[in-house]
């Protein structure tokens, strides 16, 4: 039995995992970098150890140090969360050698699904539909020219070791091919140290549909239905929902079966996600396996009624899955919005600094996975995700309205976020009608600006600010007689930071 887990991560996912552990009676060890000393995951864990300086390689990617803390604290397992070491097969292998349970897939399956070209091969052999394209990385220009003809333009150039859009290029014709392949190889080389690239058919306005799966060590594999994550910006998901508005029951069942087959084919264990692209004619193509707990896992939890993080821990302990495929069903509708420290008016560049004040939304059907608090320093060192806001309701339309209400109630002062952008997205007619695809944001919201001059509460803001200025000026001035306490008297508080 696992009785102590080291959480090799930070932010909201570390908090999420610690909460699951607490409920299971498992002790928790947090690790942190110098800037995260007061982070919420440090506050919540039973023990917390400093890894080093903020740079990820010195802290959250520092395998030696993390293994050392695990040994010292006698943690028998490590949960890597998402990002950082989550899909690092070397780290998984290292844990196996050290006899520490890595809460994730076995290192062999992890290595297999991590190599795009290799996994395309495996899937082809298993007759899993993949995007038509090259069976291997291209050797010379003729290779690319011949293959592009065969696939049919437009084609997509991808890095073999890739991810996150690096080295990716759309090629519309033979004329563009040479320079694109060369540029793509250069980019791939500099991003991954590996210049291998290959071609795939470019699917226009596809939907991104993924299936959550759980696989135990006893050969049981179930899928927990789909999540649609088509709303993306620069290949980054920002809104996810389930059920998908496009899947019919038949297609859902078929794709679920394929997802299970992918997992069985690769010998994958623990929780994972099988990603597909769905084209306009509802043809689906296997994309890749995400070998970790996903950022968007809560929407599955809320509609299926299963805790995925607890399931991960149970599977890692060697337990059998307690539910059969036929007992699982979707109930209601869930939407997740990712809250980022970004400035949507300034090309979504990161916005960091001190959070002067935060007020998080709450209420029935609202889940807020966050690690925020008033006074938190959002630093430049890590991913700008601040929180995940998830709304569940009986229907999609109600979940959408709940999300709009929840976003309106999410107050973060001091740094910029894309909360207003997300709210406008929720109000977009094409989102309302469920016509989502991966080009949604470039197509409909590329020129989004905060509604300057169209704001409805300018008057109230001016009055509030003026009253604030008035009382700020007069130290000791009392706003009203029955004041329960007087913030004007304690200005120090207002001036957080500096």
């Amino acid at each position: 039995m696992i009785n102590k887990i080291l959480i090799a991560n930070r932010g909201e996912i570390a908090v999420r995992i610690i909460r699951a552990c607490k409920e299971m009676g498992i002790s928790t060890v947090a690790v942190y970098s110098e800037v995260d000393r007061k982070a919420l995951h440090v506050q919540l864990a039973d023990e917390a150890y400093l890894l080093g300086s903020p740079a990820p390689l010195e802290s959250y990617l520092n395998m030696d140090k993390i293994i050392e803390v695990a040994r010292m604290t006698k943690a028998c397992a490590i949960h890597p969360g998402y990002g950082f070491l989550a899909e690092n097969s070397e780290f998984a292998k290292r844990c196996e050698t050290e006899k520490i349970i890595f809460i994730g897939p076995n290192s062999k399956a992890l290595a297999l699904v991590g190599d795009k070209v290799e996994s395309r091969k495996t899937m082809t052999q298993a007759k899993i539909p993949i995007i038509p394209g090259m069976k291997a990385k291209g050797e010379n220009l003729d290779d690319f020219i011949n293959q592009a003809e065969k696939i049919g333009y437009p084609v997509l150039l991808k890095a073999s070791a890739g991810g996150g859009g690096k080295g990716m290029r759309i090629i519309n014709s033979k004329e563009e091919l040479k320079s694109s392949v060369e540029a793509g190889m250069r980019e791939a080389k500099s991003a991954f140290g590996d210049e291998s690239v290959y071609l795939e058919k470019y699917i226009q306005q596809p939907r991104h549909i993924e299936f959550q799966v759980l696989a135990d060590y006893h050969g049981n594999v179930v899928h927990l239905f789909e999540r649609e994550c088509s709303i993306q910006r620069r290949h980054q998901k920002i809104v996810e929902e389930t059920p998908s508005t496009i899947l019919t029951p038949e297609l859902r069942e078929k794709m679920g079966e394929v997802a299970v087959k992918v997992i069985k084919t690769t010998g994958y264990t623990n929780a994972g996600t099988v990603e597909f692209l769905l084209d306009k004619d509802k043809n689906y193509y296997f994309l890749e396996v995400n070998a970790r707990v996903q950022v968007e896992h809560p929407i599955t939890e809320l509609t299926i009624g299963i805790d995925l993080v607890k399931s991960q821990i149970r599977i890692a302990s060697g337990e059998k899955l307690t539910f059969k495929q036929e007992k699982l069903s979707q109930r209601g509708h869930a939407i997740e919005c990712r809250i980022y420290a970004e400035d949507p008016e300034n090309d979504f560049l990161p916005s960091f600094g001190k959070i002067l004040f935060v007020k998080e939304p709450c209420g029935p059907g609202i889940r807020n996975d966050s690690s925020l608090y008033s006074g938190l320093d959002v630093t430049m060192h890590y991913d700008p995700i601040l929180a995940k806001l998830i709304c569940w309701a009986e229907t999609r339309e109600e979940a959408r309205k709940k999300m709009i209400m929840a976003l309106s109630g999410y107050v973060i002062l001091g740094i910029k976020t894309q909360i207003d952008f997300l709210r406008d997205l929720m109000l977009h007619p094409e989102f309302i009608s469920g016509n989502t695809h991966t080009d949604f944001i470039p197509k409909y919201l590329s020129d989004w600006k905060e509604k300057k001059g169209k704001k409805k509460f300018v008057e109230q803001a001016l009055i509030g600010a003026a009253i604030g200025m008035l009382n700020k000026g007069k130290k000791g001035a009392r706003v009203e007689k029955k004041l329960m306490f007087d913030p004007w008297l304690s200005l120090g508080n207002w001036e957080i930071g500096a």
Binding site: Y382, L413, K455, Q460, G473
Partner: protein
């Protein structure tokens, strides 16, 4: 008291006077009576004509960060804007141009030296934040007058990384 407050670049005149536990507010075009209840140091309840508007406010570096009705405002006093040392858009009267980072971050590289001639759009520095790199380019042709930071320094969006000068 009268204030000139800037919201989204527009100046608004507001006068506010406390009276019998209420506030009399003059917005120029109209006069309003309001109550203001304090919930906690950052949370307030504005009551106008029995309508309640909870608002959240924090003062920080001469700015008022305020949220009401789900809308966010960053408000400045008109005077304090004048204090700003550099004009972001265009060249100032002395023919100097301050180059600031588009986002706060760490300076990865400074690509020019003081005195160097630069052409428009030339890369001047690289700033990194949250795993993203961003190139800072020259918005005008000119000479590097002054470099205020060195590599590995942290910068915000207000303090210029370097200053360019137009020479004829």
């Amino acid at each position: 008291m009268e204030y000139e407050l800037i919201i989204d670049g527009e100046i608004h005149k507001v006068s506010v006077e406390p009276k019998d536990g209420k506030y009399i507010i003059d917005l120029g075009k109209k006069r309003i009576e309001a109550f203001c209840e304090i919930i906690d140091p950052n949370s307030f309840l504005l009551v106008i004509d029995e309508k309640t508007y909870p608002f959240y406010m924090a003062f920080h570096e001469k700015k008022i960060h305020l949220s009401v009705g789900g809308e966010k405002f960053v408000i400045q006093e008109a005077e304090s804007k004048k204090e700003k040392r550099f004009e972001r858009e265009g060249v100032d009267i002395e023919g100097k141009k301050a180059i600031c980072a588009p986002m706060p971050g760490k300076i990865l590289k400074i690509l020019v030296e003081e005195g160097e001639k630069v052409r428009k759009n030339q890369s001047l520095a690289i700033v990194e934040a949250m795993k993203m790199e961003h190139e800072i380019r020259a918005s005008i042709e000119g000479f590097v007058k002054k470099i205020n930071f060195k590599e590995d320094d942290l910068v915000d969006t207000e303090e210029p990384i370097l200053e360019l000068e137009v020479k004829d």
